[in-house]
């Protein structure tokens, strides 16, 4: 059903940024995402406590001055674990988006440039991948190759490939019939040159919007996998596993389930708001209806 979208606009990146920063949704999203990014970055050099420091005497302490978010059932500092977990979530989701872009975008551009049999078979392959519930396949992949952060990245990344292929194909198909492409062809440029010089720069914003969406889905997927015990392995902290452990402690330490969940919501919400803000700016049809 991926009909080419006739409303794709051609905008320079600088203008997009100027317009986006005027959208409240985009700015709110940017702030939320920055908080999580900053937490992850700071954790590279400093955390309030060592995340592997087990102090049984301090177990299940509620939030206080010495432990802002309290401690878990091993007496580990929850804030420190969330900071290191942020790094893990961001890394997994970011690399997974990278896999999708690096493989999916060239495939989509290729399908749009050649058409015919190549296009049809690539799109059929896409449909087959879409028929597998994504999380189910991710569970299979991590179970086959063993649980861990690297395999979680691969499992999530594979499902980003058809998504980016579809977006790139739809974007490219909408640009190919334009007059300036015809001019480039008349000037004797090859399809490859046209794709690199004209098609890609003109659909960059589509890819950026999709990138933020897939980034947020990647964070949710990573959390789900590590909740099932298939993501980053102990002692390396991850938000999903913190919640899985908190679930068994709910009757004595409900605070342990609060902060990791909030961290997931803030990062996903931030990215989605950024994506929405960008889309409002870039899709004139939607902003007209406002």
């Amino acid at each position: 059903m991926a009909l080419p979208n006739p409303n794709i606009t051609v905008l320079p990146t600088r203008d997009v940024w100027a317009m986006a920063t005027r959208s409240p949704a985009f700015v709110t999203g940017l702030i939320l995402t920055s908080i999580i990014l900053l937490l992850g970055l700071i954790s590279l050099v400093w955390t309030p406590y060592d995340v592997s420091l087990v102090t049984i005497a301090e177990r299940l302490k509620t939030p206080s001055h010495s432990h802002l978010f309290g401690t878990d059932h091993f007496g580990r500092d929850i804030l420190s674990m969330i900071m290191v977990g942020a790094r893990n979530s961001i890394a997994v989701a970011l690399v997974a988006v990278g896999i999708g872009v690096i493989i999916g975008v060239p495939l989509g551009c290729w399908a749009a440039a050649r058409g015919g049999l190549i296009d049809a078979s690539l799109m059929r392959g896409n449909d087959v991948v879409f028929a597998f519930p994504a999380l189910l396949s991710a569970v299979m992949i991590t179970a086959i190759f063993g649980p861990g952060a690297v395999n979680a990245i691969i499992a999530i990344g594979i499902f980003n490939i058809p998504v980016f292929a579809r977006v790139a194909r739809a974007g490219a198909m909408a640009i190919w019939p334009r007059d300036f492409i015809l001019a480039a062809r008349a000037a004797g440029k090859s399809r490859m040159q046209i794709t690199l010089e004209h098609i890609l720069p003109n659909m960059m914003h589509l890819l950026i919007v999709q990138g933020t969406i897939q980034f947020s889905l990647g964070i949710l997927a990573e959390a789900g996998l590590s909740y099932l015990g298939l993501g980053a392995q102990p002692p390396s902290p991850s938000w999903g596993r913190m919640l899985a452990e908190a679930q068994t402690m709910m009757s004595i330490g409900p605070h342990t389930a609060l902060f990791p969940g909030l961290a997931i919501v803030i990062s996903v919400l931030g990215l989605n708001l950024m994506g929405d803000g960008l889309r409002d700016v870039l899709d004139p049809k939607l902003s007209r209806s406002k």
């Binding site: 059903m1 087959v128 028929a131 999380l135 099932l228």
Partner: protein, 344 residues
Amino acid sequence: MIGYFFSRLGLSALSLFLASLVVFAVMIVLPGDPTRLMMGISATEDAVQALREQMGLNLPLFERYFTWLTGFLTGNMGRSYTYSVPVSELIYGAVSISLPLALIALILSTMIAIPTGLYAASRHGKKADSLSMGVAQIGIAMPNFWFAILLVYAFVLLPFQSQAWAGQGGFWGGVATLFSPAFSFFQWLKLPAGGFPGWETGFIPAFKALILPAIALALPQAAILARVTRSALLEILGEDYIRTARAKGLPRNLVIRRHALRNAMIPVLTILGLQFSFLLSGTIIIENAFYLPGLGRMVFQAITQRDLIVVQSVVMLLVLAVIVVNLIVDLLYAVADPRLRRPA
């Protein structure tokens, strides 16, 4: 229309065939010999070989694929390696939990989402619109297993714990007194925090066990659906025929109900179809969170136990379900929008 029907049917069959090849291939490359796992490390080479022959694992790949596929299509899916019972029996038991769960979640999410989207669109640009869409954004960002944990806390643990606080003063005593009617209602409801008593214990206890999981599954779906309903409606409300209907003097709410909602159903239907696959994914996590022995938990356990024959059949069944639902959605569009009947 008939041509469209058959071309869509053919494409779905092709996808299904390709998917079956993928599922089969994955099972072949999966490390770990199932016969070794079944017999333990002390089994002799001869015994392992005999079991391999008995299970047909020594046959050529093509023959194994063909036997598996025909078995799958006729409902004869072999016996589980771990439980030694027919796979079809396991699947039947699991579907009797997962299907009602998915249906309740689907009904719940539609019941929440469409009125919310309609309300937000009719109050477009006002506070109520921003508020409901803000809540929807949070619903989308919330991982369903975290929501599940919070639901169990609010409906099961907190009402129980609050009894101890009720007499005391202070913050928690205040909370206990303030919410005491709700807490006693939840205590009276006695929703289980997890597990499934089985349908044979009666409809009410079994249904109760599915309520919290279904709410946890429905929330993110409802949030997405509400947003789609709202934006589809807004797009249609800008069309000329809506202005004509308004110019004729029809009240705004009547225009929305009679003209806009019906046309907005096409994108809503698309998302409902797409969400089916997400719903199946969701059951893997939610059934684990609530210890429900449904399809999602079964396939998760089968994967970790290397019960390949179960994994193969369940994955294929889920893929079949996704493809069939998408086919139905595609055909429904053609009914709703005659322009789509022409071959692309």
